[in-house]
Symmetry: C2
Subunit: 299 residues, 2 copies
């Protein structure tokens, strides 16, 4: 089965102490869609401006991504510029130019409305609601988010969480939303807000699932060097949803393995700027690392 | 086989926003010895003053700990007082009264010198050296440390690391010692400093082993509430060495499981002040949690 991914499509200018990379392909939907494409057919919904480079359209197409839902609007593509510190953990935003993204409304093409697997990648919760309003009984819906929406659209977000099967956020966001420092106490509170599955991302410390079969501690793939972590969280959830949508059996049976596949895909993302390294990998390379993760977590 | 544990024996006064607990049994050797006692016979080497409460001697004895190497010196027992913030991560030292610990020299009773398993729990590296000087061909020696020794006794510590089979430190200490932010890059550098096995502790994120069979990502047991993390690292390494010293087969085969046993023992430590909760647990309770950890890390 295919997976529908709705989110931001952007140009990212990423600066580190060692390099400067202007106008890379970025955005939550781009990272998630490329990650998911290693496992399943992907339908992307997003918006770009008339300045969107043709090479990035070609990149989506190379990954077999269905672009029927990609709107091209008069104006400029959403542009984000950020700078990382040497340790690659702290980053600051230098520029946010919304461009055509400011007035984006995710209209779903008719054929997209019956997609069984839906990933509401990080965008405004109001837009995530709007996507769900158009869907016709999806099988499994997961939403991702970011701290910005906790700050400026909390009510929309809390309403959205009630409507999804799975909710993904990082540890600092979980703390902000639940006022719990302890990640397991936070997971308990997040469950009570609605979703059957809650996943807290902890960067290089991996991620933790809370679901009907209890907790799952998902490892991060050991990387000796992180080149650029931008999009790692989107790659994680994209890879996970891609794997889930084609795995045999139900979500409950497959979600742990799906998270591990997502984790490995996110590791490839971190090894290059933007999508540079993700696009160079193959399903075979991903499988090799999943087997490595199996070996280094067994006891 | 038994395990020899040398380290500090102290009285800890621990303050949190919710409670104040004066003069609890503490110190690296106390925590490590009680943790190890669930798995193996333990010989403790340390020093206390004449004020050391009889109830704590009884507690050691209840755990079957051999106290032949516990010196009782004229003067006061080492006393540490610290205060934790609400999130239980940040702590500050209020008082350090070295007392008899100031002039401590770990003399090993004759029968201790042939101990096959030796844990050099956190004390000054010069004292850890002195213990090794007295040993007669131990089978497996592990050293733990703390940031203080990196700051004031770096040369001693670097010399010590060359002499041990396993070296244990936490992530911030690993960063300080290697100048590597990345934990896997730090592990690589630490190996080059001598030990066959290096373990980096990451608190609630678990720990990572680097050894002859590559990495092992060891999970932390999921706790919904941390009452007092003092001694958790000592409990981890104590539980690990206790398990290792009685497990059939060689260290290489058993070390992963030993870390998991250490991790679970450390979780019990965190659930009460000082050793209050550790002393209440049983090998059976520990086994239950190890099986739980197996279940929540499987994919």
């Amino acid at each position: 089965m295919s997976v529908l991914i709705v989110g931001s499509t952007a140009l990212d200018s990423i600066k580190t102490p060692k390099a400067e990379n202007p106008r890379l392909l970025g955005g939550s939907a781009s990272h998630a869609a490329v990650a998911a494409s290693f496992f399943a057919p992907v339908k992307l919904v997003g918006v770009v401006g008339e300045d969107f480079p043709k090479k990035y359209v070609a990149l989506y197409k190379k990954h077999g991504i269905d672009l029927t839902g990609l709107q091209i609007q008069p104006g400029k593509t959403f542009h984000w510029a950020g700078e990382y510190e040497l340790n690659m953990n702290n980053r600051r935003t230098l520029t946010t130019e919304l461009g055509v993204f400011e007035k984006f409304t995710p209209h779903l093409p008719e054929k997209h409305k019956k997609s069984p697997f839906v990933l509401l990648a990080n965008i405004a919760p109001a837009l995530q609601h709007h996507v769900l309003d158009q869907m016709n009984k999806p099988k499994f819906v997961v939403a991702d988010t970011m701290d910005l929406w906790l700050n400026i659209a909390l009510e929309d977000l809390v309403g959205l969480i009630k409507r999804v099967d799975g909710f993904v956020l990082n540890d600092s966001e979980a703390h902000q939303l639940t006022k719990e420092d302890n990640v397991f106490a936070a997971l308990k509170k997040l469950h009570k807000m609605g979703p059957k599955y809650v996943i807290i991302k902890k960067g290089s410390h991996g991620s933790i699932l809370s679901g009907p079969d209890g907790f799952f501690i998902c490892p991060a793939y050991p990387l000796h060097k992180v080149v650029d972590p931008t999009g790692a969280g989107d790659s994680f959830v994209g890879g996970m949803m891609g794997y889930l949508s084609t795995a045999k059996g139900d979500v409950r049976k497959n979600i742990r393995k799906a998270m591990v596949y997502g984790s490995v895909t996110a590791a490839f993302c971190c090894e290059g700027f933007g999508l540079n390294q993700t696009t160079k990998t193959t399903r075979k390379n991903i499988d090799v690392r999943v087997r490595e993760l199996e070996a280094i977590t067994r006891f």
